[in-house]
């Protein structure tokens, strides 16, 4: 019944998609045929790890899809800029650029790392929270659920060694 109150959002092809930033900071869809802008639009990557820049899903507030964008290049420049900005702003996945040390304390590992966002100390609960993706990148998940990524081949030898020691 809740669904009846909120009409299905329009389905829009990437080329006709027009998204703008509202005064309240959120995104809104300008329906192709004109009419009231639809506020509360969200964007999500379908493959955040394997192909982050293709297949972007544009959805309404209730999570129903408005448009699936296989390639950002299909969008109009303004919409593309807003969507790209939103994708960057809504994510916080620091890239680890150096691992200073890892200390074991009972059941918690304390990682002292340098990220592209600044230095930070991570508290990692389980050995399984450090794992390697098929492409070689290492993902570290801290106790709060934060995600940190390292590309071993880009690190200094010492960091790489520590990472290798901790990675199952």
């Amino acid at each position: 019944m809740k669904d009846k109150e909120k009409p299905e959002p329009p389905k829009v092809g990437p080329a006709d998609l027009s998204i703008r930033r509202e005064a309240d900071g959120g995104l809104a869809l300008l329906p192709p045929g004109g009419g009231e802008p639809l506020a509360g639009v969200r964007v999500a990557r379908c493959f955040p790890w394997t192909r982050p820049d293709s297949y972007i899903s544009v959805r309404d507030e209730a999570g129903r899809e408005i448009s699936l964008v296989p390639d950002l290049g299909e969008l109009t420049p303004d919409t593309r800029r807003e969507i790209e900005a939103e994708l960057v702003a809504q994510e916080f996945i620091p890239r680890i650029v150096a691992v200073h040390d890892v200390e074991d304390r009972f059941d918690v590992m304390i990682w002292n790392v340098e990220t592209d966002r600044g230095p930070v100390e991570l508290q990692v609960k389980n050995a399984e929270d450090v794992h390697q993706l098929d492409d070689g990148r290492v993902v570290v998940r801290d106790h709060a659920g934060g995600t940190f990524v390292a590309t071993p081949s880009e690190l200094d030898p010492r960091s790489r060694r520590i990472l290798d020691e901790r990675c199952g």
Binding site: Q90, E91, N112, E121
Partner: protein, 750 residues
């Protein structure tokens, strides 16, 4: 400087306590806020520091840039203002919107999310003019993870206090206090250990006497000593073996008793803890505390402690004797000992790290097995055998490759240790050899020294492992004690209200409940159920039906309001008496390992066979039970007789009937069974319900139609109440649900 900065940042981004830092407080006006949170990400995406402080009437932002604090915004909490959180991956944005215009946007990482969500909830309530109470940590709330007030670091889930900052010795003393109950065992065990070890030092000394005074041709040779020496040596050997037996036996028995005491204490205590505790801790973790942690402690008490003591006695004892006999040679011989201890300590550390990694790779490999073997049908159906083999081969090879490190490590360690200890032998040879030839050193002492040096191997190994062993034991002990130290949140009060005969009236008086202290799962619910009434609870999933039932059984206590049974607050009743009078038939009935009889009589173990059969008959279970080859003695549970979902249901109905509860809680299964079984279950339920107050979470239309009254819950609120007909006529939420289900039914009928 960099180090200092790093420390500061770690402190700022890390968990924090009850108050924001003092300087932030000063900038905001010096008054303690109701709630506060830290936006730890700058608009640019770098780590930064912006504090959000929530007061009674306003929201204050304070930013720290280049070490200096400055106010970054002040918003009065009144209509027209709204705060929102736009969630993202790994972090979110906190928005303050005034009259539809974005007034401030702050980014924060996920570790600050809980604080922000709490702050958002309260701030919005305040804007609407509600005096929303501040959620407090404590009963029924899953709050932020605990952090150590001393080192500000995360306290592991299983611990109450930071195991790192807690004095290790205190835990070990507490563990030791468990052995005090068995003074004889511990006295005999440790006494035998010390005596036996000291005796171990005797034979080399005897050898010296034998060689110098009996075997070496010299003027004061005393041949008469030969047999007495042999006899003394024999006695020493026999005595040593006997003492060893006494030690092993007594200490093994002692630690068996101690760990038994611990296991039972933990299990007993776990039974007293509320469901909230169980839902917070993973089952596997709880099981391992009772099994593997106590097992590790057994090992520690039985062998670990004594081995360390014995090793110390051997090394110190042998060294003492050597120093008394020949101080210079003793000093030279002992040179390799500290070096070997250091090498051993490093070896143990390296092994630990290698084993940890190997374990991770090993489990990576076994995960293929646990994936593919149960999924064999799918693998074959999609002809992916080759790929799965390849996956396994790769991971197995990784394990093998990594195991090489392990073998390299220990095959490197042993030769090093042997060489060092052999160096001791060589030192004795090179020092004593020339002197013996020159007549300045006696042969007996030479042989005695060789004997003592050989004793060093074992103890050095043990002492090298000592640190890790103590650490492991402390961790295990801490884990066990932290269960024992958790106070039960739901318990019978000291003064209970005597209730007389249980009638089965239930009343909710403005009840609100939340599992996490933030989201209200039940909101201000009030209703009354008369004895004997049958209530059908319905509504969309997530509406709060199961929570409501949990509160009646007092698995949880409400956050606000009261739950009354027969007019008495459940918190003032005797918990056991209350639960004894409530029968529960759950959606997924749990059958314990045991016979059918034991399962039916679970709540009433004293029931006679006649009563059990009676209950089974009433539940329409008798016929299928007798159909089992072992009848009522059929084993259920793992590796027992498999029972279908419908049979399971009827067994649990029989269980409830046998308890003869005045108040019945029914959680109807959603899964559909065939119509014949359905009918049988329905019949059984009809018999069960007769004469009892029943509160049923109902999905079957038939049950709903029969209920005296229906209560519809949606999003934690009681939205509709009345008979089936009344609700259908009102054409609200229930009517809608009913229509969908009828359509579904007619679909199946076709």
């Amino acid at each position: 400087m960099v180090k200092f900065l790093k420390k500061r940042l770690a402190a700022a981004t890390g968990p924090f306590g009850e108050l924001p830092p003092g300087d932030v407080l000063e900038v905001s006006g010096g008054v303690k806020p109701c709630l506060f949170a830290l936006a730890d990400v700058l608009p640019s995406g770098a780590y930064g520091e912006t504090w959000v402080l929530l007061y009674e009437r306003e929201l204050v932002l304070v930013r720290r840039a280049a070490g200096a604090l400055s106010p970054a915004g002040r918003f009065e909490l009144k209509t027209g203002l709204s705060v929102k959180i736009a969630e993202g991956a790994g972090g979110s944005r906190f928005r303050v919107v005034r009259e539809g215009i974005l007034a401030a946007e702050l980014r924060f990482s996920i570790r600050q999310a809980k604080r922000f969500s709490k702050l958002l909830h309260v701030a919005n309530a305040r804007i609407e003019g509600n005096a929303e109470p501040i959620p407090q940590a404590g009963e029924g709330f899953v709050d932020e993870e605990k952090t150590c007030p001393k080192c500000r670091r995360l306290v592991p889930e299983w611990a109450d206090s930071c195991p790192y900052c807690l004095h290790r010795r205190r835990i070990l003393m507490r563990l030791a206090s468990y052995t005090r109950r068995y003074p004889l065992l511990i006295g005999a065990g440790m006494g035998a250990a010390v005596a036996g070890t000291l005796l171990q030092l005797v034979p080399p000394k005897l050898t010296k006497v034998l060689i110098n005074d009996v075997l070496t041709p010299s003027p004061h040779r005393n041949e008469g000593l030969l047999w007495p020496l042999v006899i003394v040596t024999a006695v020493v050997i026999v005595l040593r073996v006997a003492l060893q037996k006494v030690r092993l036996k007594n200490l093994a028995v002692l630690s068996e008793y101690v760990t038994h005491d611990l296991r039972v204490a933990v299990f007993d205590h776990l039974q007293k803890l509320s469901l909230a505790y169980y839902s917070k801790k993973p089952t596997g973790g709880l099981i391992s505390r009772i099994t593997s942690d106590t097992d590790r402690l057994w090992d520690f008490i039985a062998f670990g402690v004594t081995e360390v003591v014995i090793s110390l006695i051997v090394i110190v004892g042998a060294a003492t004797v050597m120093f008394i006999e020949e101080p210079v040679l003793a000093a030279l011989t002992l040179i390799p000992i500290p070096v070997s201890l250091v090498i051993t300590a490093f070896h143990v550390r390296a092994m630990h790290s290698i084993l940890g990694r190997l374990w991770a790779k090993w489990s990576n490999m076994t995960s293929v097995l646990s994936d593919v073997i149960p999924g064999a049908r799918v693998v074959k159906a999609f002809t992916q055998e080759k790929r799965e083999s390849g996956r396994f081969t790769n991971r197995s090879r990784v394990v093998a490759d990594d195991a090489m490190n392990l073998h390299t490590e220990w095959t490197n360690y042993w030769p090093k240790l042997s060489l060092l200890l052999s160096a001791g032998t060589l030192i004795i040879w090179s020092y004593a050899g020339p002197r013996i030839v020159g007549g300045a050193f006696d042969l007996g002492s030479f042989v005695m020294f060789l004997g003592y040096v050989a004793m060093f191997y074992g103890p050095i190994e043990h002492l090298g492992m000592m640190n890790r062993m103590f650490q492991r034991a402390t961790t295990s002990a801490h884990r066990v004690f932290s269960v024992l130290d958790t106070p039960p949140t739901i318990y019978t009060p000291h003064k209970t209200v005597p209730c007389g005969e249980f009638k089965g009236a239930v009343e909710f008086d403005r009840v609100s409940f939340s599992y996490d202290g933030i989201k209200r799962v039940l909101q201000n619910i009030s209703f009354r159920v008369e004895p004997g009434e049958v209530i059908g609870l319905a509504g969309p999933s997530g509406g709060g039906k199961t929570t409501l039932i949990n509160l009646i059984c007092r698995f949880y206590d409400p956050v606000e309001g009261r739950v009354l049974v027969d007019g008495v607050d459940v918190r003032r009743r005797d918990l056991h008496e209350l639960r004894r009078n409530i029968g529960v038939v759950l959606q997924e009935p749990y059958l314990f390992r045991g016979t059918v009889t034991e399962n039916i009589a679970y709540g009433n173990p004293g029931a006679s066979p006649g009563e059990i059969i009676e209950a089974a008959k009433a539940a329409n279970a008798h016929d299928f039970i007798v159909g089992f080859p072992d009848g009522y003695d059929t084993m259920l549970g793992e590796r027992g007789q498999t029972v279908s979902g419908g049979e399971r249901q009827r067994l649990s109905i029989a269980r409830a009937i046998l308890c003869n509860p005045k108040l019945l809680i029914l959680d109807e299964a959603t899964s559909s069974v065939d119509s014949k079984t359905e009918m049988k279950i329905q019949e059984a339920i009809d018999r069960l319900v007769k004469g009892r107050t029943t509160i049923a979470i109902a999905h079957r239309l038939s049950t709903l139609r029969k209920a005296h009254r229906l209560m519809i819950l949606d999003k934690g609120k009681l939205v509709e109440q009345g008979t089936h007909e009344e609700l259908m006529a009102a054409d609200g939420l229930y009517a809608g649900l009913h229509r969908t289900q009828s359509e579904l039914h007619s679909l199946f009928a076709v």
